[in-house]
């Protein structure tokens, strides 16, 4: 399989000069500035001076060292709670909620501090999956820019005072209606409370608003099925998946759920060689598109035309004027859809009601209802309707709103007509914000009553109908905040309030007035689930309903706080179709297809078009001040800390005269982090931002990510109000959104793009490492795999056979060491890895990995222990993409180990490549010698730089400094050393978890159960692509994968180097008939590589 040529950048594709240079100068470090130091080096130091200096420094060191050691205090509790034992982590079930996103989670709490979020495996919806945002959300709790107290008219005040002021204000302005503006709410109790609250104010209404709207789908469903909601999707039942611009693996609706479902259709082995076929029609390279088997490009304005063409092809009586490549694709997709009626699904990311009606008609034609689309359980993640919001903004501007209460929504930032909203809110006499931060909307409000972070809150969430998960607080509120529901209950007054019955149990909440949300919540759910015991079980599980039946009441009550140890990953059960037990139901379709088709036909496409998308990391942008997310490389562009205009190579050529396929031009553009800046104008608004030329983008499309460019009204306040990580990161492109009277459109048909002549640096993480054409990835197509599964590894097996019978022992001069007890191994399935990056953030959180900031990333100093490498292959216009999570391979014959002069890195009897930080002297020989490039060096003191004043000020970025504060440092894992400057570090296979798991087994006098010990990346993965276990156990998951189930797909990266790595990969298989990748015909270029290298190293030698 060596013939397929992979490339990570255009430079690598073209073998440009700079690229070749970078091959030799791998770490891109400038040598010591010897020229500048000539004077110093040549100076004649008298012997006596030398002795004086040496004497002085010895004396000074002795003096400093003999200073008294500090006196440490050990302060125990005054009254220790039974459930907290210092040094032991408790896990509590809760639910991540943000902007309508709902992910049931388990939160790891240590000494009363939440420090890590894991998925809740009891949830039938997510099955323990998480996303990068969920993983990172624990850091938001400790964000230094959170609001710390309530404010009235810009000044701090107590809640009591503000309550009274608001009560007076609301009475005074009772003449005009009150409006409650929130993001999509999924909580049944909150909605109940809101109903009660609004009942007090005649004419009051509740408007739900989403930063990125799904209104088109909701309205289309109302028109088609009479249901003003979204259905739940079941990708796992689909053999054919067609997505029209829906990034369902990255950002669309509920990617955690869809990742899990999608992976179930992509898990494959030689015994069951079946997988789904995925067609993607889109205008830029999305994460989902990167995973697709067949991908077709079109302009964003043509989405409707694609949908129409597809409907026509599956038998609808409509016509479409779609031509070109996409039309070919539609034909192929339609044929597949028709061949798999009842096992197919079409989803569409458009926010146009008419397009979505057509998509509904297609799903009707292919029998998706009740099979892959379930109307019995609705998806409540997004509920906002564009017209409601537009009406509200008009009412505000007309002065027709008496009071505006904002919770969770931030229209002053992410509404397309933010200026109009801002103007309107100024005309409203009473404005109240419950947002956690001083965001763009909150700073315009008269009263600010910050609500709790979800980790400090009680609550419930019903993401999908019937699947309710509960939220319980993991920490006492850090600041003077009050939960939104508490405020409403207080204002409703005692009439509807419930009286507190169990005041001892709720000693945590400060005000026990009897109408608090906690009591309300408890009463509500106790009544619903039938008794307090059931309520406690539901709270313990985090899941109501489907979860409750799983546990019996006789469960040991002592285990209430340390629940859920049953999260083993059993891929065999995943392989089984878990949804067979569920009954899905369809709905009867009555949409006006002809009318919708006529309106779509009227859409005009322009010359150059823009399309707005969300990044996997930041989404709509309300977590913009999260440094972990900001530093998370985009799966496709690998850029951090910024948004940019993604354009195709064709547009790059016409605009900047950069021919990306020309060696010299590639260097002009690619190697230098400075990128040309353009001005993009659409709908009369313009933004200025840098350009990234990437493969797989439609020649006439400019793709821009929303969620960046958070700015306070006074930009000097942004760092203080919104946060230091968000400050200066990217440009806000929400103003380019347009409104067509029914829906907001996330594209614009007539956009102009012009050069400004400026440049702007973009910090990309990948281009740092190159593979030098070595075969590190294996892939094949489904048909070839079925025909001859052994072909995948044939070439390598032949190569290794030359070293003798037993490659492990015969191909080395080093002795062989036994691994008598455990031997840890990991298996990563490239077929189910979608590149979602949840593991990267999970690794950050688990292992105290520092945030280095944009400037450091640009200097290749990023610290991710686990990175997801992205490789392109095939045509640069529309390439195939492959993701490969790359972490320390824990080689049994590790090249890094034998070059360490101080044996700081060596091998354990369990197969771990150990790194002893306190022994490391920072020579970086190991990083130099690591063929996988997974070792990371601490160039600065990224976590403890505040140890003395002005330490490293100006050297490390402001965003990194933000993490050097006692508050964010509360998130650090106390079981993992915090590394300081000058130390090498790398993936440890989460050795702290291995040690803990072994210790638990020893304490319980048993062996370690398979699946009991999980690494952070494995646990975070929504698709279970990563599996980890003891391979000395022949029955363990990894042993079985390697030796039985996936014998043919298994491979080790750079196995021929005899590194004997402990991480194996499973080859990617694409369900396509195309020939994947280029054929490697440049054997002479390989020689060329070596030639250059030698020549250059000669040069370096003197």
């Amino acid at each position: 399989m060596n013939e397929i040529k992979y490339w990570q950048s255009f430079g690598e594709l073209n073998k440009s000069d700079e690229f070749k240079k970078s091959l030799v100068n791998e770490f891109n470090d400038e040598l010591l500035p010897l020229e500048d130091m000539k004077e110093i080096l040549d100076a004649k130091t008298p012997r006596r001076d030398f002795l004086k200096y040496i004497g002085f420094s010895t004396a000074a060191a002795a003096l400093a060292a003999s200073c008294e050691s500090p006196v440490n205090k050990a302060v125990p509790f005054l009254n220790k709670r039974d459930d907290i034992t210092p040094g032991i982590s408790n896990f509590y079930a809760s639910t991540y909620i943000s902007d309508g996103d709902v992910v049931p989670v388990l939160v790891k709490q240590r000494e009363g501090r939440p420090i890590k979020v894991e998925g809740n495996t009891l949830s039938p919806v997510t099955n323990g999956g998480t996303s990068a945002q969920v993983q990172a959300s624990v850091l938001d709790l400790y964000d230094t820019s959170r609001l710390r107290y309530p404010m009235a008219k810009g000044k701090e005040a107590t809640f009591e005072v503000i309550d009274k002021m608001i009560a007076d204000d609301l009475t005074a302005n009772a003449g005009k209606p009150l409006v409650l503006l929130t993001s999509s709410l999924t909580s049944p109790t909150t909605k109940q409370i809101i109903t009660n609250f609004l009942a007090k104010y005649p004419g009051a209404r509740h408007v739900q608003y989403d930063g990125v709207s799904y209104s088109g789908m909701i309205q289309a469903n109302e028109a088609s099925y009479g249901k003003k909601t979204l259905p739940s999707y079941h990708f796992e039942n689909a053999k054919v998946i067609v997505s029209l611009g829906a990034d369902f693996l990255g950002t669309w609706l509920s990617p955690v759920v869809f990742n899990r479902q999608y992976a179930e259709t992509r898990r494959i082995n030689a015994q069951h060689p079946q997988m789904s076929r995925h067609f993607q029609f889109e205008s830029y390279m999305s994460l989902t598109g990167a995973n697709a088997d067949e991908r077709y490009l079109h302009k964003p304005s043509e989405t409707g035309a694609v949908a129409l063409a597809l409907l026509a092809a599956v038998g609808g009586s409509v016509t479409s004027n779609l031509t070109g490549n996409a039309a070919e694709g539609v034909k192929k997709a339609a044929a597949e859809l028709m061949a798999n009626k009842g096992a197919a699904l079409v989803v569409c990311g458009s926010n146009d009601t008419n397009v979505q009606i057509i998509v509904n008609a297609i799903n009707e034609a292919i029998g998706a209802g009740g099979k892959t689309i379930d109307w019995a359980s609705t998806a409540n993640y997004r509920q906002g309707v564009d017209v409601d919001m537009a009406t509200l903004v008009n009412d505000l501007n007309a002065g027709n709103v008496g009071a505006l209460l904002v919770y969770g929504a931030n229209p002053a930032y992410n509404y397309f007509a933010a200026d109009k909203f801002k103007a309107g809110i100024k005309k409203c006499p009473v404005t109240i914000s419950f947002n956690e931060r001083m965001d763009e909307t909150t700073e315009l409000c008269k009263y600010v009553l910050p609500s709790h972070h979800w980790l400090e809150s009680w609550g419930d969430a019903e993401g999908q109908g019937g699947n309710i998960s509960l939220i319980q607080p993991l920490i006492h509120p850090l600041f003077k905040t009050r939960q939104f529901e508490d405020s409403l209950l207080k204002w409703i007054g005692s009439s509807t309030a419930v009286t507190s019955t169990d005041s001892t149990a709720i000693a945590n909440t400060s005000a026990q007035t009897g109408n608090d949300y906690q009591t309300y919540f408890k009463k509500y759910w106790t009544a619903k689930v039938g008794g307090e015991d059931n309520f406690n079980i539901a709270l313990q599980d985090g899941i109501v309903g489907s979860g409750t039946g799983k546990r019996s009441l006789t469960n040991n009550p002592d285990s209430t706080n340390t629940t859920n140890t049953n999260n083993t990953t059993d891929t065999t059960s995943i392989l089984k179709n878990v949804t067979t037990a569920l009954t899905l139901s369809g709905a009867s379709f009555s949409g006006n297809v002809a009318g919708a088709a006529a309106k779509i036909a009227a859409i005009k496409s322009g010359g150059n078009e823009i399309v707005l998308y969300q990044k996997v990391s930041l989404g709509t942008g309300n977590q913009a001040n999260n440094p972990w997310l900001q530093e998370l490389p985009d799966p496709i562009s690998k850029a951090t800390w910024d948004n940019y205009a993604m354009i195709s190579s064709a547009m790059g050529k016409s605009l900047f005269n950069i021919d990306i396929f020309n060696r010299k031009d590639t260097d002009k553009y690619e190697v230098n982090p400075q990128k040309p800046v353009v001005k993009i104008t659409a709908n009369g608004k313009s933004v200025t931002l840098p350009v990234l030329i990437l493969p797989g983008i439609h020649p006439n499309v400019i793709a821009l990510a929303v969620g960046y460019g958070r700015t306070s009204g006074d930009n000097n306040k942004t760092a203080e109000y919104i946060g230091r990580a968000a400050y200066g990161a990217g440009v806000n492109v929400y103003p380019l959104v347009s409104y067509n009277g029914t829906n907001v459109d996330y594209y614009a048909a007539n956009a102009t793009i012009e050069k400004t002549g400026d440049t702007y640096p973009i910090a990309q993480s990948q281009v740092h490492n190159v593979t030098e054409g070595r075969p590190i990835i294996r892939e094949t197509t489904l048909s070839k795999f079925i025909a001859n599964p052994k072909d995948l590894n044939k070439h390598e097996e032949e190569e290794l056979a030359a070293y003798g019978e037993d490659f492990v022992k015969d191909a080395t001069m080093y002795p062989y060491y036994d691994k008598p007890g455990m031997k840890w191994g990991m298996s990563i399935d490239l077929n189910t890895c979608t590149g979602c990056s949840a593991c990267v953030v999970a690794c950050h959180a688990e292992n105290n990995i520092p945030v280095v900031g944009k400037r450091e990333v640009a200097r290749y100093h990023d610290m991710h222990w686990l990175r997801i490498d992205r490789y392109f292959t095939g045509s640069p216009e529309n390439p195939d993409v492959i993701f490969q999570p790359m972490l320390c391979q824990h080689c049994d014959n590790a090249p890094c180990e034998n070059v360490c002069p101080v044996t700081a890195t060596n091998h354990s009897s369990e197969g771990l490549n150990q790194m002893a930080y306190n022994r490391c002297i920072g020579t970086r020989y190991c990083a130099n010698n690591c063929p996988y490039k997974v070792r990371r060096f601490n160039w600065q003191d990224y976590t403890g730089s505040d140890s003395f004043p002005d330490n490293q000020k100006g050297i490390i970025s402001d965003a990194t400094m933000m993490m050097n504060d006692d508050l964010p440092r509360m998130v650090l894992n106390p079981d993992v050393t915090v590394r300081s400057r000058g130390v090498m570090e790398k993936c440890s296979f989460c050795v702290q978890r291995l040690q803990e798991g072994k210790l638990n087994a020893k304490k319980e006098n048993r062996t370690v159960k398979d699946g009991e010990i999980q690494t952070a990346c494995m646990q975070a993965c929504p698709t279970h692509a990563i599996v980890f276990s003891n391979v000395n156990d022949k029955e363990s998951r990894v042993s079985k994968i390697r030796n039985v189930e996936q014998k043919d797909r298994k491979f080790y990266v750079l196995e021929q180097l005899h590194t004997l790595s402990n991480v194996n990969y499973l080859a990617k298989i694409r369900n396509t008939d195309r020939v994947v990748g280029d054929i490697h015909d440049d054997s002479h270029e390989k020689g060329d590589f070596h030639g250059t290298k030698e020549a250059n190293s000669d040069k370096q030698d003197h």
């Binding site: 050691s69 205090k73 125990p76 040094g87 354990s908 369990e910 040690q995």
Partner: protein
Amino acid sequence: MNHYRRFIGTTTTGIFFLFLFSFNNNLFAQDGQAIFKSYCASCHKPDAEFTGPPLKGAREREAAAGLPKDWVYKWVHNTTSMINTDPYAKQMFAKYNSVMTAFPDLKNEEIDAVLDWANKYEKPAAAASATGTGTAGEDDNSLLYGVLTLILAVIALILLQVNSNLKKLSDEKQGIRTPNPVPFYRNKAYLLLGIIVLFLIGGYFTMEAAIGLGRTKGYQPEQPIYYSHKIHAGTNQISCLYCHGGAQDSKHANIPSVNVCMNCHISIKEYTGEPITREDGTSVNGTAEIQKLYEYAGWNPDLKKYDRPGKPVEWVRIHNLPDHVYFNHSQHVKVGQQQCQTCHGNIQDMGEVAQFADLSMGWCINCHRETKVQFNDSAGNGNKFYSIYEKFHDDIKNKKYDSVTVERIGGTECQKCHY
């Protein structure tokens, strides 16, 4: 000369050990004492009334009441049901007004061991002072060696000098001319020797001092409350785990919270034991120290209620490990079955706690090299976790070695403690 010294060494050590053993005749009852400490000591005293009756003479009392010999086993294994059915148990309940916690896991032999030990129990004062004398004897001997060596060295030097002088005289007599003698302080050989010796001695001490930087063996800071382990763990035999329960569950042994102290001190208001003296000779008022505890707890002993907000005690931390070291108490106490004293010394004899071991890496590693793990055998003894080490089991079966040390299962690898 050397032979002589070695002889003295062996003899003194031998005498010393003999000495020790002769005073440690309670060694056989050690087992009973250990069980007593971990199970019984919080409610029973061996020879006095406490929450429960004294254990000394329990057998006789039962026999006097006409109970069979196995009554006590039934009682310890299942107290609650006995309270309702057994007349003697009812009588006891009436007297002490509390039900003893049942210990169904205690074996009959273990109960016997406790009772036997209690019957033989004597006040420990005499034994402690005897051990003290033993230690002093060892110190005297080493001083003796030192002085002896020094004297012998001087004599040897003088003899050498005399020898060379005599040689010179005899040479002169025979007419062999020798160059004028250089005084020894000008003799280059001597000077070089001296410099080398000084360098070695200096180097040795510099290295020792450098290695010892940050190590605080013997560190004994003054604490906010004079808390005596000698009184609690020594005299009153309170099990270590009663207060430091974390030692068997968690990585931290945990200093008890104030409410744990108040469990007992709610009724123990004054100190009535033997006078307490600090190491510098000053005396400590035990009752005043208990008052300090009440200040922290916010307890009013007269009104018998908490009448003010309490505050936690800010103890001075004695055992400090660097941040890059991971140490887990439960691994050693629960899994490794180590006694607290192994690392913390004779804590039951300490007034204010002092650091016993230097907590250096060498000290850890040495123990890991020597200590045997509780390797499981076919009879079901030992920890079943180790059943995965098939190779070692085979080797033991083939008599290659008879036990497995911590080192052999990887206990000296970097990432067992540094991650």
